[in-house]
């Protein structure tokens, strides 16, 4: 990883334009003093993807949980010239707006957004779920699995993720169709930045990072999963048989329980 960059001329001189953000929150009663979780969905998804199961489950285990929609997706307002940096801005703003130091949880390309946000906000810990860190390999895999949905995105069109990419066969058809029809689109510029985006800067305060994924994920190949985990000095925690969307797939309970167990054991995150 590169070194800490102190001079941030571009960020000072050209601050990201604010938008109205959708944050879905669920707070346990009574408050148990656990660190808040901030869930960041991947491209195409919104806060709804976490509101479906994971938010209420986290709350039932005593963690305040918040899910953010990145700008232009879910219920968040769209803005012109949205890039990866605007998404990172949205995450850092939402995290700094929480009452206590937060745990950032990013899914898919949202994990890459979280990885960048870690350089701008001292998270207590971070969890990267089925992380899409981009690169040409990601494009190759997506083209192989879903050429019709991916090809337009390579030319700035909409990325259409298919049911087979996102979910296992265990998920009932009706639910899968409902989720796929709820998918939105990410900014064109941010999609391109997945191929060759800005370099990751080191995380502030060196938080513990957990990587979750599935060996049967059709968006993130196992090699990519291992690469991301190695970057943070660990190995991925695997949930065989599940699709890319661990939070929506039929067995959504297993990964979120693993995530919360890890947080309860991790001393700095308690």
């Amino acid at each position: 990883m590169s070194k800490v960059r102190i001079i941030r001329g571009q960020e000072w001189a050209r601050p990201v334009r604010p938008v109205r953000r959708e944050v879905v929150s669920a707070i346990p009663e009574p408050e148990q003093g656990r660190p808040p979780l901030l869930f960041v969905p991947g491209f195409g998804h919104g806060a709804w993807a976490f509101a479906e199961h994971w938010l209420s489950h986290a709350v039932s285990r005593g963690f305040p949980a918040h899910a953010l929609s990145l700008r232009g997706q879910g219920g968040s307002e769209a803005a012109a010239r949205t890039s990866l940096r605007s998404y990172v801005h949205d995450v850092v703003q939402a995290a700094a707006g929480l009452p206590r130091q937060a745990v950032l949880v990013g899914h898919g390309a949202g994990a890459l957004v979280v990885a960048h946000a870690l350089a701008r906000y001292p998270a207590r810990a971070a969890v990267l779920v089925s992380p899409v860190f981009g690169g040409w390999g990601t494009l190759g895999a997506a083209l192989r699995r879903n050429p019709a949905g991916t090809l337009p995105a390579a030319f700035g069109g909409r990325l259409r993720l298919s049911r087979a990419q996102l979910f296992s066969r265990e998920l009932p058809d009706a639910e899968a169709r409902r989720y796929v029809s709820a998918l939105g689109r990410a900014s064109r510029r941010a999609q391109w930045q997945l191929l060759s985006g800005p370099e990751l800067e080191p995380p502030v305060g060196d938080p513990p990072v957990l990587v979750l994924g599935s060996p049967d994920d059709r968006v993130v190949p196992p090699a990519a999963l291992n690469r991301v985990a190695r970057r943070y000095g660990s190995a991925p925690l695997l949930f065989p048989g599940m699709g890319h969307d661990l939070m929506l797939d039929a067995r959504w309970r297993e990964p979120v329980d693993a995530l919360l167990d890890w947080l309860e054991k991790e001393p700095v995150a308690r």
């Binding site: 070194k3 800490v4 960059r5 102190i6 001079i7 941030r8 001329g9 571009q10 960020e11 000072w12 001189a13 050209r14 601050p15 990201v16 604010p18 801005h89 850092v92 703003q93 700094a96 707006g97 929480l98 009452p99 206590r100 130091q101 701008r120 906000y121 001292p122 502030v204 305060g205």
Partner: protein
């Protein structure tokens, strides 16, 4: 306010006694932070992030230091707003809400610091209502810090710390100029530090002395509230509007800095922009600046020139002497104000430290430090926030704190790098980080934010071995 009860009580059982025979409690590897203002808070947060325990002593009962209007030493007045825009002023890893204005109000700043303290759980490490009266180096590079309740009540208590961060601020001790005849003057005289509300000016004939940002703000308020306002300045200044080309002025300047446009070029661009938008100020009777822009602390005030143009502010030269009922100016004019406001600034003070520790050998009150933070010969001491930047202070204070926290950590893991750092401090103390500036008590710690942060970046990189 802290109500936490899990604060570790210092143990009063130690081997050594202090010089006057009281027991010294040993706080081990804990770092002492003096002051819970912006600089102290960021020092605590960054030290804790690097794994250090901290004890912070704060003479007031809340966080925020100068920005907490409830504090008796706070210099803010009702209308105080930031003069650098948000991106330059926030802590780099805890942004202000993006729904806030470009130039937030002081009450928002206080809310920001309170949220920072809560977010990073800092309050339980702060001893409120406790002032530091002595900080003495002891053998083995530790420090004995003597404290007591604010106002001198209660017994003194001495604790030994591994390191000390001095973050006591530099905008609380008013600098009052001396003038011939000031004692005989019968009108009302106040320093800007006791100016709180425009009602204090209402209907009076007011003379405002000083063209710092505070002086200009007060002159603008006097223009609207007082029956007459004279604004006395020593020299001509560049009154920079807060917005140029439709954007906060500092953001425009930094767009040029990012492109590494040289200083002379930026000055030329600035002068031409001002000429085109604000125009020639000498037409209003304001003196022509005797320096180029960026050579004095920048004044960001869009309204001063406006009120001068309305005749609500009369620009006058320096004060020559006071008489019982009037003021004589250096151009021989005689004016008769009822109220004189000295917006003549503040002086940094470190009463609890021997001046020699900070390298102030001649007793001028100007410490001799590297990066305005590190004292030669004292590797476990840092001053945070002793800067007068051409942008926001808190960003710079954050990086000072990060650098010091990393230094303390590397003293354990890489003593060689820490020693190299100490040698650099020794060799380069007193370095300046701005272009040529006018010499004054205000400008000796003036820094250009980019130049300064580049120096911090180099120091951090060499410390990390990168």
């Amino acid at each position: 306010m802290s109500t936490s009860t899990d604060r570790p009580e210092p143990e009063a059982t130690t081997l050594a006694l202090s010089r006057d025979g009281r027991p010294v409690s040993d706080r081990g590897d804990t770092v002492c932070v003096i002051g819970a203002g912006a600089s102290g808070l960021t020092a605590m947060k960054n030290l804790r992030e690097q794994g250090f325990g901290v004890d912070c002593y704060e003479r007031e009962t809340g966080v925020g230091g100068a920005w907490n209007w409830r504090h008796d030493r706070s210099p803010v007045y009702a209308s105080t707003h930031l003069i650098s825009s948000r991106p330059f002023t926030q802590f780099p890893d805890f942004p202000m809400p993006d729904s806030w204005p470009d130039y937030p109000h002081h009450s928002q700043l206080l809310a920001y610091f309170e949220r920072y303290a809560d977010h990073f759980d800092l309050r339980s490490h702060i001893w409120f209502g406790t002032e530091v009266i002595r900080v003495e180096p002891v053998e083995g590079e530790g420090w004995d810090v003597t404290t007591r309740s604010t106002g001198g009540y209660g017994p003194e208590r001495t604790s030994r710390y591994a390191a000390v961060v001095v973050a006591n601020g530099h905008n609380w001790s008013p600098k009052l100029p001396s003038y011939e005849g000031l004692e005989e003057y019968r009108g009302e005289v106040m320093h800007a530090s006791s100016y709180k509300d425009p009602a204090q000016l209402r209907g009076k004939r007011v003379l405002v002395v000083g063209a710092g940002n505070t002086g200009c703000d007060i002159a603008v308020e006097a223009a609207q509230q007082a029956s007459q306002c004279w604004h006395s300045t020593r020299r001509g200044y560049w009154y920079a509007p807060k917005y140029v080309l439709g954007r906060p002025a500092d953001q425009v300047n930094d767009a040029l800095l990012a492109l590494r446009v040289p200083l002379r070029m930026r000055q030329w661009l600035y002068h031409s922009t001002l000429r085109l938008t604000v125009g020639d100020l000498t037409r209003f009777g304001l003196p022509k600046p005797d320096h180029r822009v960026y050579e004095t602390h920048p004044i960001a005030n869009s309204q001063l020139v406006y009120h001068v143009g309305h005749g609500a502010i009369t620009p006058v030269p320096d004060v020559a002497r006071f008489s019982p009922y009037g003021v004589q100016l250096t151009d021989g004019r005689q004016i008769e104000p009822e109220l004189v406001v000295f917006a003549t600034g503040y002086l940094p003070r470190f009463d609890f430290l021997d001046p020699l520790v900070l390298g102030d050998d001649s007793g001028t009150g100007r410490p001799n430090l590297w990066l305005n933070a590190f004292a030669p010969g004292h590797p476990t001491l840092a001053v945070v926030g002793l800067l007068q930047p051409d942008s926001g202070l808190f960003t710079l204070a954050h990086w000072q704190a990060v650098l010091f926290a990393r230094l303390l950590q590397l003293r354990r893991t890489h003593p060689d790098r820490a020693a190299a750092f100490a040698a650099t401090v020794q060799a380069r103390a007193g370095e300046r980080y701005s272009g040529p500036v006018k010499d004054s008590t205000r400008h000796w710690f003036e820094v250009g934010h980019v130049e300064y942060l580049r120096a911090v970046q180099r120091a951090l990189d060499s410390l990390e071995g990168k």
